[in-house]
Amino acid sequence: MKHDATLEESILRRRPAFIPYLMAGDPDLETTQTLIEALAAQSAAAIELGVPYGDPLADGPTIAAAGQRALANGVALRDVLVLTKRVSANIPIVLFTYFNPVFRYGIEAFARDAAQAGAAGVIVPDLTLEEIEPLREQLAEHDLAMPLLVAPSTPAERAARIAERSSGFVYLVSRLGVTGANKAPNVEPLRTQIAQLRATTQLPLAAGFGISTRAHVEAVAPLVDAVIVGSALIDAYAGTLGEEAKSRVERATRAMGLSSRA
């Protein structure tokens, strides 16, 4: 199966779209590839592909532990780029990486190699608006999207500036805190923020952080263009490999009402 859409088109075609998050190399790179292919077949709009990092400030225990497992397997950024190259023809791949591995790799080399691997975009959760510019320029040069995050604590004026600099989509953090299934989205403030953003940007809006049940999906999906689910999927397949992991992920997406969006 081939995709030929940009990240933005892929989301808008499936509205409300589903964007799963997977940690590359947890439990191994082959399983991650199997899962990406299964989720593409379920018509996920894109994959957020996590690059393992030992000090993930924006992540809760599930994704932090998944990153540790991948690191224990020796998975580094260059391995994630190799994996990206294998799967990026099937589905848009958005790399989700902390800044330090990118900084050490070299911003220019990273943008070039991510583009060569066929990635559709890059999310860097620890770059604030004030720090994005050098990377954003390089990514733009290679036609890579850079979705930026808006948090519940982001004032409206700042959220508008973030949306203006964002590309691919705007990533709405659905509640305060870090990623993880232990704390539900906070829908009412999100609704207000979405209304304000719709007035200032044409980009798709995707919500993530804490979306882990069918009820969360049903509450949030009608408000946005895409829902992002990470920890709940990882919790579902952690510790399993290959086909077993695949069937657990498929079960989890069905239970959350996400595969019906196929």
């Binding site: 000090d55 050490r104 700042r158 305060l176």
Partner: protein, 390 residues
């Protein structure tokens, strides 16, 4: 100097945090700027330093520890309330938290010194305090855990990652992100995202301001050399800042070499690290070529940290401060040597500075004047030191 508008000292510093914290840092920066411009804020701070922390701390000549005839002065931060320089900073941040109407304090701690200093001001100002501490440190530093609990703080044992200060700091950032509106994060060193490195420096610079004046008053001249240990680097920035413009004064930051700079068991971020981003700012980091932060080692829990404050990275690049390092065994020797020569038990952190002071003394004459920051007392280290000597 002040950092630039984006929080950079030269190429180092900045604000590398999740967006959820960006507003909190803006809010903190605004409140800090207003407080720093308000003479009333500093009056209240200085009054507490005097009546509560016991400042000014004395300047003492350690004659029996000196090498040859080279005079060695020590700044007695060990005599502060809670036993180290940490109280200078926690008092300042607690005053700021109160001005901002925050309801609770959180802190990270490694050895427990900053945790105790935060628990102390929490008690003094009536804030609930949650301290995050790596599970391994909770085990290694049991007396400080007991002290924090006695003072009413809740100590959370952090079991992620390497279970030490680095992970405790990650956890404190995560907790802050979840409860950012009511929570004030009291960072314990000149690290973290802007404005922390600058703010913490301004609360610690009292060390050097006092020491410089004491030196002139008691010895009629400036020191030839100023020495301080560097982990995150707050006691060092605290004593260096007053001397930065004194061109004739050489400044020495002493990192923990651990088992040796090239042993793979070290905590010398400036000596053995490379430029990277950790805990919100760009500085030197002990890391792999792929940018994964590596586990550090030092005999001293307070120096056992893979990063260093961005202003130190800047001072290193500028060449204004010379960064050197001292191994575990050298620090331990100075720990015992100072205790037996002077009747003062230094913290293992401070023992690194003392060890380098003796090394430097061999190249100095009696016309020189060496000033060492004795950043804390060593009661907390007694069991650890005895176990290593056996």
């Amino acid at each position: 100097m002040k950092p630039d508008a984006r929080g950079y000292f030269g190429d180092f510093g900045g604000r590398f945090v999740p967006e959820v914290l960006a507003y909190a840092l803006d809010e903190l920066e605004r409140a800090m700027t207003r407080a720093f411009d308000d003479p009333g804020f500093w009056e209240g701070y200085r009054a507490l330093l005097a009546s509560y922390a016991g400042r000014p701390s004395p300047l003492y000549r350690a004659r029996r520890f000196e090498v040859g005839a080279v005079p060695m002065l020590v700044k007695r931060e060990d005599l502060n309330h809670t036993g180290s320089h940490k109280i200078n900073n926690t008092l300042g941040q607690a005053l700021l938290a109160r001005r901002m109407g925050k309801k609770r304090l959180i802190a990270e701690t490694g050895a427990g010194q900053h945790g105790v200093a935060t628990a102390t001001v929490g008690a003094r100002f009536g804030f609930p305090v949650d301290v995050y501490m790596g599970a391994r440190d909770v085990e290694r530093q049991a007396p400080n855990v007991a002290l924090m609990k006695l003072l009413g703080a809740t100590v959370h044992s952090v079991t992620s990652g390497t279970q030490t200060l680095k992970d405790a700091t990650n956890e404190a950032f995560r907790v802050w992100a979840a409860e950012v509106e009511e929570t004030f994060y009291v960072i314990g060193s000149v690290v973290g995202a802007h404005p922390y490195p600058y703010m913490v420096r301004e609360f610690q610079r009292v060390i050097g301001d006092e020491a410089r004046a004491q030196c002139l008053a008691q010895h009629g001249r400036l020191p030839s050399d100023v020495i301080a240990c560097v982990g995150g680097g707050s006691n060092a920035i605290g004593i260096f800042t007053a001397f930065l413009e004194d061109e004739g004064v050489r400044l020495w930051g002493v990192e923990a070499a651990g088992a040796g700079l090239k042993s793979g068991h070290t905590a010398a971020s400036l000596g053995a690290g490379s430029i990277g981003v950790l805990h919100g700012s760009r500085s030197y980091v002990l890391q792999t070529p792929e940018g994964q932060v590596i586990e550090t080692h030092s005999i001293s829990a307070g120096l056992d940290y893979p990063g260093v404050g961005p202003e130190h990275a800047y001072l290193k690049e500028r060449g204004r401060v010379e960064y050197v390092n001292v191994r575990d065994d050298e620090a331990l020797e100075a720990f015992y040597g100072f205790a037996r020569a002077e009747g003062i038990i230094p913290a293992l952190e401070s023992a690194h500075a003392l060890a380098f002071a003796r090394r430097l003394s061999r190249d100095r004459s009696d016309n020189d004047l060496i000033l060492v920051n004795l950043s804390g007392r060593g009661d907390k280290d007694i069991a650890h030191a005895l176990s290593l000597q056996a």
